[in-house]
C-alpha cells in the first residue's frame, strides 16, 4: 500500500494539471487556446498550471509565429509521459 501511494504524483493531484496531461499524452501538441477550450479555464489559471508542469519538465513549450501572431505549442516530454502513466497505474492499483 505504501509503495503505491509513493507512485502517486503530487504534480498531477490537481484537476487542471491532470486534464492538461491527459490531453497532451494523446496529441502530438496542442496550443494554448485549444487547451483553454478543452478545460474551460481562464488564461491566468491555465498559464500558472502550465508553468508548474514545465518546471517539472513534464511538458515542453514551443513558441512560433502564425500569420505574425505569436502561437505557443505545448507538448508532452518523455519524462512527462512516463510519470503520467505511472500515476494512472498507481490509481488503478489503488482502486483494485
Amino acid at each position: 500500500m505504501k509503495d503505491i501511494l509513493k507512485d502517486l504524483n503530487k504534480a498531477f493531484e490537481n484537476r487542471i494539471r491532470l486534464g492538461i496531461m491527459s490531453a497532451l499524452v494523446v496529441n502530438d501538441y496542442l496550443d494554448f487556446n485549444a487547451l483553454k477550450n478543452l478545460l474551460g479555464v481562464t488564461d491566468g489559471n491555465l498559464a500558472s498550471h502550465l508553468k508548474s508542469l514545465e518546471k517539472n519538465e513534464y511538458i515542453r513549450i514551443q513558441k512560433e509565429f502564425l500569420d505574425r501572431k505569436p502561437n505557443t505549442k505545448y507538448s508532452c516530454t518523455n519524462e512527462g509521459k512516463a510519470a503520467f502513466l505511472k500515476h494512472i497505474k498507481a490509481i488503478e492499483q489503488l482502486l483494485k
Binding site: L18, A23, L39
Partner: protein, 205 residues
C-alpha cells in the same frame, strides 16, 4: 481513503483523452439524412438509366452520353446535399454541447477522410469515362469504406464498423456486377440510416 476522487480522476482522464483527440460531435441525424438523400438520388439514377429500357434488360444497360451527364449531375447534387445536411446537423449538435466544430481534431478527421475519398472519386470518374459503368457503384462503396476506416481513428469507433461493412458490400457488388445500384442503395442509403439511428439512440440520452 478517498476512492471516489480517484474514480472521478480516471473518468476525467479518459474523457479528456477522447475529447482532445477525437471529433465526437458527429450527429446521428447526419447519417439518417445522408441515407435518405442517397436513396432519393438512387431513385433518380434508376429513372435515368432504366426509364427507357424494359425490366428484362435490367443488368446489361448501355448508357448514352446524355444519360451519363445526367447521372453525374445526380451524383453531384446528392453528394452536395448529403454533405450539407451532415454539416448542418453536426453543427447543431456541437452548438448544443458547446463544442467547437472546426478545431484541429476536425481538420485531421477531414483530411484523413478526404485522401482515400478523393483518390476513389477521381478513379471512378476515370473508369466511367473509359466506359466501365458497372464498376462505379462497387468502387464508390469500396473507397468510401476505406475512407471511413481511415478516418475512424479520429472520431467515434462505430465509424470503423460502418466502413468495414461498406468495404464488404463494395467487394460483393463487384462480384454481382450489374446490380450496382441495389448495393449502392444498401450501402449509402440503408446502412447510413441504420447507423444514424443507432448513434441517436446511443448518444442522445
Amino acid at each position: 481513503m478517498n476512492q471516489q476522487k480517484y474514480i472521478e480522476d480516471l473518468k476525467d482522464i479518459k474523457e479528456m483523452m477522447n475529447k482532445s483527440s477525437k471529433f465526437i460531435s458527429l450527429s446521428g441525424l447526419s447519417g439518417i439524412s445522408a441515407g435518405i438523400i442517397a436513396l432519393a438520388g438512387a431513385y433518380f439514377a434508376w429513372e435515368t438509366i432504366y426509364s427507357k429500357t424494359g425490366y428484362q434488360d435490367f443488368n446489361r444497360t448501355l448508357l448514352s452520353f446524355d444519360q451519363l451527364i445526367q447521372l453525374l449531375a445526380i451524383g453531384f447534387i446528392t453528394l452536395i446535399l448529403a454533405v450539407g445536411f451532415g454539416i448542418f446537423f453536426t453543427r447543431l449538435k456541437a452548438k448544443k454541447s458547446k463544442e467547437n466544430i472546426w478545431d484541429s481534431q476536425t481538420k485531421t478527421l477531414v483530411i484523413n477522410l478526404l485522401i482515400p475519398l478523393i483518390s476513389g472519386g477521381v478513379f471512378c470518374l476515370l473508369i466511367l469515362l473509359k466506359g466501365y459503368v458497372g464498376l462505379v457503384a462497387p468502387l464508390t462503396l469500396l473507397f468510401y469504406g476505406l475512407a471511413l476506416v481511415n478516418a475512424s481513428k479520429y472520431t467515434l469507433t462505430e465509424v470503423r464498423s460502418l466502413g468495414i461493412l461498406q468495404i464488404i458490400l463494395g467487394l460483393t457488388a463487384t462480384f454481382f456486377i450489374g446490380y450496382g445500384l441495389i448495393f449502392w442503395c444498401i450501402g449509402f442509403g440503408l446502412l447510413h440510416i441504420i447507423y444514424g439511428v443507432i448513434m441517436e439512440i446511443k448518444y442522445t440520452s
